[in-house]
Amino acid sequence: MTLPFAASPAERRLLTEGRLSGPMPWVIAIMMFLTVLAAAGGLALNHAARNVTGSIAQRITIQIVEANPDLREQQTRAAMAALSAMEGVTAVNRVPDAEIEALIEPWIGGAGEEEGIPVPTMIDADLTEEAHDRLETVEEAIIAAAPAARVDDHAQFLAPLAGLIGSLTWLALALVLLTASALAASVILAVRAALNTHRGTIEVLHLMGATDIQIARLFQRRIALDALLGGTIGFLTAVIVLLLLGQRIGAVGSELLGSATLPPLAWLLLILLPIIGAVVSTLVARFTVIGVLKKML
């Protein structure tokens, strides 16, 4: 079994060296660019989806909506105590008042408390999956301790977002598959065109006793080089675009967008794409050539 790229120096000189067909590397570069972008999008979304469903989906937020500040403070402590005592609650954190004020500032202006507008207190609690499943009993226990409590389940308002992210991930995967098939199709067309251009030479080689494998090797080597060249160009362009996008996202500073970054494993998968592209192109070229040759005696 020889490597798909292997061709002896003797075989290499059977066909002209140099580029196989002008636009071929560029077509591959464009396909690879789109594939890498779609794959990066899919991987980033997948990563974000994990963050959303993983860390904050089992989080609940309790608001104590009570006009009397003393009562509000009392109920807040009672709710926190009840939560801490509860089984399946992994973390209880009171959201600092300053943070809440910052949150509502755009709506009521900087002087909420002074003007007598009651600002609720907020408690974030992380539940285990098992506790999250029996959210109703958790809610009942909290309200028993603090009647003014209102429990918000993050999973509930995250559900449509998680659904959207899931759909987008599938869309990205579909795009990767589509561009990959378009790439394979263009390789087939390029090989057919090359076979036609070199038909006379192939027939002569064939009648001299060259085997199908020998002739296929001449073509697959050239296609492999084209695919590697085009794939690298497309990949590098996509990486530049991704890095610029990453900078922009970092500048926005949003937690949700921030979670849409690429983990190291995703980069590794992206680097594999041009390599896989070259190998697949080589194999497609090989089987196309052998398929065409099989029709000759």
Partner: protein, 248 residues
């Protein structure tokens, strides 16, 4: 005499060839060729000479009949065994079929490269071949820059370099002047004396008299017009024993 008895290396029995659905191009063709012989295949244009040669150099399978080459049935031979047989046959095509982007040197080297001969073992035989056909100074020329006669000699050198057991030439004097035709025949005669079996298709009857020991096959309308009569002459004894095997 017995020790030098020629062996049959080609045998056709009731061979028929039909392209598509039309009438048969070749019908009931039966003959056999002895190793070391020199055979002319004549007949008017369109008689089926090229078609018969194609069957012989394994570019075409017959529609019916039996063909044996080197003592094996090649009609039913699996496809992957054909290259081995083809490497024992040299062909000078009617239209030369030189590879346009390769130099004379590289064209002549093709069969050796196909056979996997190493690059550093290539130069000597190819240069010898170029000298033999008188084209040493044209080694790096592309076919398009060669004259018709020069192209023809490159084609012959390419057909011969692998030391084929059978050399097939289709109308080799078709587009050269009489002087060149005479030189080519001299070349073929020399090869035949080295033991190569020659099959030369031509409609030029003046050629036939130039090789005294050659035997004649005549095709007309796809049939060997008098196969038994044409092949009655016993084959001439090879001058230098059996043909040599290809070098690799």
């Amino acid at each position: 005499m017995a020790a030098r008895m020629a062996t049959t290396i080609v045998q056709f029995e009731n061979v028929g060839l039909r392209y598509g659905t039309g009438a048969e191009t070749l019908s009931d063709v039966s003959f056999s060729l002895d190793g070391g012989g020199f055979y002319f295949l004549t007949g008017p244009s369109g008689a089926g000479k090229t078609s018969l040669l194609k069957l012989l150099y394994l570019a075409q399978r017959p529609s019916r009949g039996l063909i044996r080459l080197f003592d094996e049935d090649v009609v039913t031979l699996p496809r992957d065994r054909l290259p081995g047989f083809r490497r024992r046959i040299g062909v000078v095509f009617q239209d030369f079929r030189l590879v346009p982007h390769l130099s004379a040197f590289d064209n002549i080297a093709l069969p050796l490269r196909v056979a996997g001969v190493e690059e550093d073992e290539l130069a000597t035989p190819v240069n010898e071949m170029l000298a033999w056909v008188g084209l040493s100074d044209r080694a790096s020329a592309r076919p398009a820059t060669l004259s018709g006669g020069e192209q023809q000699r490159v084609a012959i050198a390419r057909a011969v370099i692998g030391r084929p057991e059978i050399l097939i030439a289709d109308e080799p004097t078709g587009n050269v002047d009489p002087e060149m035709a005479a030189r080519l025949l001299h070349l073929f005669d020399a090869l035949n004396k080295l033991g190569t079996t020659l099959v030369v298709a031509t409609h030029d009857i003046h050629l036939l008299s130039r090789v005294s020991a050659a035997q004649l096959m005549r095709l007309e309308g796809g049939r060997l017009s008098d196969p038994t009569g044409a092949l009655k002459n016993p084959p001439r004894e090879p001058h230098m024993g059996k043909p040599r095997k290809p070098s690799a």
